[in-house]
Symmetry: C2
Subunit: 356 residues, 2 copies
Amino acid sequence: MKSIILAVDDIRAIVKRVGRNALMDELILRMTRAFEDYSTEKIKIPMRDGFQYTHPVLGLLEWMPIMEIGQKSTIKIVGYHPHNPNRHQLPTIISTISAFDASTGHLIGLADATFTTALRTGAASALASRLMAKPDSKTLGLIGCGAQAVTQLHALSRIFDFDRVLLHDSDFSVVQSFKERAAFIGIETQPTQLDELVKQSDIVCTATSVEIGEGPVFDAKEYNPWLHVNAVGADFPGKVEVPEDFLKASYVSPDYREQAIKEGECQQLEDAEIGAELVEILQNPDEFKHLKDQPTVFDSTGWALEDQVALEMLLDMAKDFGLGTELDLESISDDPHNPYSFVGDEESVSKNQKAS
Amino acid sequence: MKSIILAVDDIRAIVKRVGRNALMDELILRMTRAFEDYSTEKIKIPMRDGFQYTHPVLGLLEWMPIMEIGQKSTIKIVGYHPHNPNRHQLPTIISTISAFDASTGHLIGLADATFTTALRTGAASALASRLMAKPDSKTLGLIGCGAQAVTQLHALSRIFDFDRVLLHDSDFSVVQSFKERAAFIGIETQPTQLDELVKQSDIVCTATSVEIGEGPVFDAKEYNPWLHVNAVGADFPGKVEVPEDFLKASYVSPDYREQAIKEGECQQLEDAEIGAELVEILQNPDEFKHLKDQPTVFDSTGWALEDQVALEMLLDMAKDFGLGTELDLESISDDPHNPYSFVGDEESVSKNQKAS
């Protein structure tokens, strides 16, 4: 029974063939539809769990499972190691994702999710900003200009017609390199002092590797009364990016309430201060349209449905383009009652070494 | 950065090259050493978790993680679908396992674990029986004669010098086919009435797919005062194989106490009635040597350390034999701050479709 494996070459071929913009547009479209169709009767998403550690380096390795009841299950394994870029020239987030048939347990496919994690995190912010930010937002502020910032800008630029992008990062070399990394998006970028960035932006995305206990990453001294913040960096107990007073003055929508309370900006809030989950807002846009005129925060901790949508998009495209490696991965025996029968003829060594 | 993938062809090649007996012996040896070295300071094993469902069929899909602190993490994904053999000609258990570098999150390797789950479950019963069963045990009883029974017998036959194997299964065709499936082990098998099997055996292995709430699978009317039972089938809340009165008359050692209380035979016991975990007995053999003379139960729910040992054995052998497929699976960019840089030159489609 075959499993399909999408490796980096396959994903590269998909991106080249489809184009970055069309790929992002397709992901935003699919994610919107998946959110519209979502219900807890059809889909189970337990809170992600994992290992969080400080030795040999600060890091975490988590599993993010989702099950479409009666259909299939998708499990993403994601590593978050903030020292990767400086120590290993590796991205902070490295990830793979697998899909399983819920009627047999068979592994349908495995793919890289390093790229799609950045992609879907951007797409989720695009969905949130479409629902909560001012529709004619012209100025985007990026606090933290690493890998995630590229896809935040890219995804948002597919929804909004920005004039300019204001940049801030605690490491100025990362600000300097951003222009080239985001050149394909074609919007002017400006390194900006932090308070000015917050003051001038219509939308802000925070995507930092701020240390635990060292947040927030900005002060909200002055800001536009319609400011929308996509807070995507918080993913660890104790790690926050958005100041408490701004959270309390805003409508805060988590992607996944329970998880956001544990690892997101919602760590700083009482239960009654937390708004509806993004999926609820998306399913009831009229009820929430006033959010566009007030301060809002999307508390993005990462939701397994986003990952499943991204994986399915890649698997569909790989199928269309004839990409991917098919492997007989599982040792499925002709005789399900004989775990050795997949081996075939008895190996001779074994015959001569019978237990005595 | 390469990940190594061991598919069914690789595992077949390993079994043929090493031989079934030498492979089982090596696994028992490695598992014994891993148990000897185990400490909660060095190794974290959270309880497995997963999806348990009754639609479209009864089944579960679980993740079993383990972390060697500062070294690596291994995560097995295992499906248990008891209707697989009859409906799909597939084994009840289908599984894959992955190893990750704990300093970066990189996927080191992925392998089939369908075969090794059967293998390591056998090896764990061998370890338990060596510590708790009568050393000169001559009669083995198998209740449930499916896939797991083959590796139970095989593993135990590497430790004990059995004269005969007594067989019982609720499906007599499975009893009938067992002889051929276990022929390579070379021990006489006898279909036996259930009470007789229990009465005559020195060691019993229960490995059934008994329905939830339908257990136990035998009555302990008469039995040898040194009877040791390896109960390997219970892996679901409500599923049990061993009668409560026998459990209460026995020393019961779980592989993983917390998990056994939730899913194993220990569901039927009070906390004070549960003995030491197998690893503790293995690390303190003198303290527990009296167990060989009394009724004992190994409550085997499956422990992630067993899976890690099996995976490492296969990876070591694959390396020695030059087996496995190396793939650049993760989309690692040259620039860790640019999620798109692995794509290489800008794709032309995207250039002409810039956001407007």
